[in-house]
């Protein structure tokens, strides 16, 4: 299960709505890690994740006074972050980005030298952008296919097919033939989706 979002004391939320900078900083302290992690996993780019984190909290600060409490603050913030991520996923720049996988998630090229988490993280980075976003939203954040379809302005079937392709790709990357080397894991033709 995903790590549950920390809850915000009602008093902190009220202060944040009144524009209290200290309360804003508390919100950032509570949610910046989960937002950055979400963005980094969905976008496979530290720089883009940093942008998403910044834009998300700018939007939070601009709109916190209008937050009505229909959901948890953490859910609201995460939804903003997901929308920002999907904007990046949809952008042509990300589509053309190719394989700018961050160095911090790439191992030394020898599968045996990577622990399971690093291998999984690296494999996830090699999944096409849209499919990776679908995997994260479905398998980790718990969104349904219908919800993902709506978020992406597509259908539930689109989400299902993307997830199936991503699972297949992940399985190949994690369990595939040893002949699949570092280079062949991330080839441009496999990056398209």
């Amino acid at each position: 299960m995903p790590k549950p979002s920390p809850s915000v004391p009602a008093e902190t939320l009220q202060r944040a709505k009144r524009g209290d900078r200290a309360a804003h900083a508390e919100l950032y302290g509570l949610y910046s890690v989960s937002v950055f992690t979400l963005a980094r996993r969905m976008l496979a780019s530290k720089a883009l994740a940093e942008d998403v984190l910044q834009e998300t909290f700018v939007e939070v600060l601009c709109n916190i006074d209008r937050f009505r409490g229909d959901s948890e603050v953490g859910t609201w913030i995460k939804r903003i972050a997901i929308n920002k991520c999907l904007m990046h996923v949809r952008s042509s720049w990300v589509s053309r980005r190719g394989f700018a996988v961050d160095e911090d998630t790439v191992g030394d090229g020898r599968a045996g030298a990577l622990d399971e988490q690093m291998a999984l993280e690296r494999a996830l980075d090699c999944v096409p952008d849209v499919a990776r976003a679908v995997v994260w939203l479905h398998d980790v954040e718990g969104y349904t296919h219908a919800e993902i379809g709506r978020l992406m302005n597509r259908t539930a079937s689109f989400s299902k097919s993307q997830l199936a392709r991503a699972h297949e790709r992940l399985r190949t990357l994690l369990e595939g033939p040893e002949a699949e080397t570092e280079t062949s894991l991330c080839t441009p033709e496999l990056k398209t989706c």
């Binding site: 996993r41 984190l53 398998d139 369990e175």
Partner: protein, 176 residues
Amino acid sequence: MHARVEDLLKLRELPQLEPPPGVWERVLETERVRAAARRFRRRALAAAAVVAVVVVGVSAALMLERPRAPTLIVARTMPASSTTLVPQVSASYAPLVAESARLERLLAGLPPRRVMVGSTAGTIAGLEDRIAYVDAQLSYAAARDLAPTYREALWGERVELMSALFLVRFGQSQGF
């Protein structure tokens, strides 16, 4: 073809990632800049709304005050200097004469001029000079009994200038 469930579930066990330092400071700076931009837009919109209300109000006032019997109003309200320009109002441009008189009455009803910015004062002075020039031409036309079409054109121009002068003076009296 499906990946092993246990492999996929490990996605949830991936470690949380600490954001780099300095992002919060950038958030605050960006928010400050955008808030300032929002405030500017709000003020600009408010100013535009006030101007629109004034223009609509003035237009409505002009419409409501439009006389039903222009020739009678001319006789009653035209200043002496203007009525002498047209001893006998021709039917073709009588409504223009009446409109000019009505605008003069409206102008006379405005509060006295206050200190104003140079550009407004310049605009008002320019309009008044042009009106005086048209009046001089009207006097000449009356003295020489020139064609009604010529006088009609002059009265039309006078009405336009008076309307512009009234709008500027009204706006200035409201503090714009």
